[in-house]
Chain length 252, copies 2
Amino acid sequence: MAGICWTQETLRVAGVCERGFTVERNGHIIPGVLWHPSQPAGPRPLVLMGHGGGAHKRNERMLMLGRMFSVDYGWCAAAIDGPVHGARGPVTDASDPAYRQMWQRPEIVQEMIDDWQATLDALSTLRDVDTTRVGYWGVSMGTMFGLPYVASDPRVRVAVLGKAGMSGSSVQRSGIDTHFKTYAPRVTTPVLFVMQWDDERFERDGQLDLFDRLGAKDKRLHAYPGQHADNGPEAFEVQTAFLKRYLERTEA
Amino acid sequence: MAGICWTQETLRVAGVCERGFTVERNGHIIPGVLWHPSQPAGPRPLVLMGHGGGAHKRNERMLMLGRMFSVDYGWCAAAIDGPVHGARGPVTDASDPAYRQMWQRPEIVQEMIDDWQATLDALSTLRDVDTTRVGYWGVSMGTMFGLPYVASDPRVRVAVLGKAGMSGSSVQRSGIDTHFKTYAPRVTTPVLFVMQWDDERFERDGQLDLFDRLGAKDKRLHAYPGQHADNGPEAFEVQTAFLKRYLERTEA
């Protein structure tokens, strides 16, 4: 089982600890961040968070969610850099040619699945983490990698996915539709799929098609007006309530 | 302004009062039910509830929602019988020929709009009702009548609509698509539109089309697997949280 290596001083902000870490897998290094409440309270749910294209493990959205999950809900949360993103550089914008080149590597999706699995292996060694209550949150590139991962790791019990689909410019340059065809039917964990009604990168029908393909019987689609980067006014609150419903309920 | 006439002893169940009433409009009688918390606490939000085809103001769904809104949220709630439904009989099932005949009357939608407006006029005279915080909840027939009503009465500040659309067998026998074309763009209040992904009465594309036509900038679509009568596991909880967000927030 992979070990975890802490890389930074713990940053304590308003009741939450934020710690950089790395996990090694087959000789390459996966850089991550873990958020958890300052006050120890025994094993708690963990949300794995996949960032968007051109972003990184500690971007504004990851910070907002990681801190909210820890402060408001008392959970752990973790993000890792995607391939060629963040500390695995050089991509800082999805228009970078290296972004398209990343998708041209046939094994890229499987590598990211393996990275997430190694990360969860490592995080599972922490006493703060309840390995029976693990969720995933990731949209856009966080779904392009995250949907195949969620489909592949039965430890993930609930997932927020979306802002992705079977057609559109982002599909043309990534070829992700092939992977979605393979993995979407294998997603059997409860899913909230979010989409933007006027998404300029993923076509409306293609997003509806991807929702339709999800193998989960327990799934729901939430759609809001606006483009790819927009969000409904209550979107994050509702997504978190959804995760809470499945991460905190008593298993039969 | 129309007056309210109480028709029944107040039924007190677990913290909620349930009272039958009638409102007269142009010589015809609109039968209704009002739910409100037993403990007086000043003016509070009011949710108007439109029942489905073949149902009535006091059916299981109306009772469940009316009591939940009152007990768990401290709101008032009211339901009225639709035309030829409940105490305005004879329809007890949407397969009754009288149901189809109802829709053949060209003025039926405007009459129900007028009925709802007269009902809200009457309920507005009650000191328990805060007329600045009025919501609407109604799906299926509750949207076929309710969407035109919500589009026509600016006193309604938030609405849960859905399980209806521009095509399907229920549209063929009602001709409601014509009304939806007229009224959907006029709905400007915040809307949560719910749909069933495998609805056998309203086609999927026609429901998405109706959501698309809604004039509200602030709208969201929630879709769950299953047929017309099914509901997502958290559907009512999420719908109520949506109403709460708009009925209890402080207006700027």
